[in-house]
Symmetry: C2
Subunit: 311 residues, 2 copies
């Protein structure tokens, strides 16, 4: 099987796991692992599912699943965390798209949640997804079979939370929102934004999979650094694609950063230096990856492919 086929198979698996964990209205279709929701809360449940089922590469749960498998961990422990991580990613997109934030009408070619359900319901749907992410992750306690596994679930849950909050993704979103008001930001600030907005949730993928599988502490440390390199280069690549990418292939408008006068890696350093930085970071990530005590060739190829991506 080639890489593209394998990637699609794994993407479909991540999506199936997510769907199985999303809440269902009591009178609706589909199966939910964590109970049906009263029809009085049917609208927010529908908005949660609409937001989460918008497609996407499902990279974060895939990272989680792959590092867990690589260290011989159990799928049963990983799956609630896979769904939870994708719910966190989804909630951040729903709130980012709000008129109060980026004010986007479309995402991946579909109307954004607030355009379909209204601004108030989109605020609630985002809140509900974040909360449900933790309900879902915490359901892994009921699947732990030993005190050792319970301990791993505790550490995984604490990392999932920290990476999503004010010390993680929300911190990056705050700095990003503040940067929009400024004419100039420092290189340090730009790195802070990228590392927190993007790298933190990648770390939740790579590191939590390893934690749940009981990987050696030194490997988990390396995975944190790999996440930081991959997250940063992924975001720089996003900035590059906004300048040179193909709108059809990307499924979104390009040239938006220039239109918004946004300070990016490209505006700060130029296209060539941005491309070199992506190569440098990926080189560092690959070197560290190759020094891990376990191996997963698919994951290695996936991480490298993120550099050369065109969408």
């Amino acid at each position: 099987m080639n890489f593209a086929e394998e990637l699609e198979k794994k993407r479909a698996y991540c999506e199936a796991v997510l769907k199985a964990y999303l809440p269902c209205p009591e009178d609706g279709e589909g199966g939910s692992q964590t109970g049906r929701v009263s029809h009085f809360a049917g609208k927010v449940t529908e908005a949660m599912r609409y937001s989460a089922e918008a497609g996407g590469k499902r990279l974060r749960p895939m990272f989680l699943s792959e590092t867990c498998a690589m260290y011989g961990g159990r799928k049963k422990l990983a799956e609630p965390f896979m769904a939870a991580l994708e719910m966190i990613h989804t909630y951040s997109l729903v709130h980012d798209d709000l008129p109060a934030m980026d004010n986007d009408d479309y995402r991946r070619g579909r109307l954004t949640t607030h355009k379909v359900y209204g601004d108030g319901m989109a605020v609630l749907a985002g809140d509900a997804l974040l909360n449900y992410a933790y309900e879902t992750a915490a359901s892994a306690f009921d699947r732990a079979e030993t005190a050792e596994e319970t301990g791993r679930v505790i550490r995984a849950l604490q990392l999932l939370m920290r990476n999503a909050g004010v010390h993680g993704m929300v911190g990056g979103q705050c700095a990003d929102l503040e940067a929009e008001k400024k004419d100039k930001i420092s290189a340090e600030e730009l790195v802070y934004i990228h590392e927190h907005k993007t790298a933190c949730l990648i770390d939740s993928g790579l590191s939590i999979g390893a934690i749940l599988a009981g990987a050696p502490a030194a490997d988990i440390e390396k995975l944190h650094t790999i996440s930081s390199c991959i997250g940063l280069s992924f975001q720089i690549q996003d900035d590059i694609l906004d300048v040179v990418g193909d709108e059809k292939e990307l499924g979104k408008k390009t040239g938006m950063d220039a239109e918004d006068n946004k300070i990016t890696y490209v505006t700060m350093y130029g296209l060539d230096a941005a491309r070199e930085e992506v190569e440098r970071l990926t080189g560092k990530a690959t070197e560290l990856y190759d020094s891990l005590t376990a191996d997963n060739l698919f994951l290695r190829e996936l991480l490298i492919s993120l550099v050369g991506r065109t969408k």
Copy 2:
């Protein structure tokens, strides 16, 4: 010491616990139990503190602290959950006040978070508070001294999450938002809204305190029912005060429900029947409370005082 003095002392204690757990900017004052936040995320940290330090009765953490003490539980386990519960309550107010939701400029006589920090930052501050609530609650794992205590923290965390999400408070907020669009709602729907929007977080107070202290299962079951009665009567009392309350004493405008054509217990049943329902529910709650295996006279008086409250 009389009840009013005791109440104020306990309120101040709850507030001190909350303050100790709120995140601090790295260059700011005050102590945080869970680490300082980068100055790049200083604005959202400031907005979180502004929102949480707006005052209030701090009833939910007080309930938690009181039932935990009543069953001989440890403060060290209760305190992270007290702070977490008040952060959840606060985030819900920040998002409720947004223009996309209730569009309120003032709360407790102060400008609302979005009026001070802007709509986008208020969305983020609410998200950050919800996330930090769980980070804070999950820090209780590091304080558990036995496997038994770890098990209690797991159950407490799972209940905290469920009561806040789509099966709990957010479910109630969704139904409430939907009801605003309708001319008529059923009595069943009105009870659903009140029980979920209000009673669920009261349950997180009363029940989690008991769970952390290892209270008997039968008592925890009764506390769920007591929470439901108290939450419902608390909300009906809110509807009553909006009609007959004193603006100065309440610190907010009255007559708002009528202005908004809102369907409340009072519009559905009339003032007298609403008052009778408050009495009936409180009677039921008191009876159940008196059948618990432990006793706490202050908490009993506090629960009863919620019926007769004028603010």
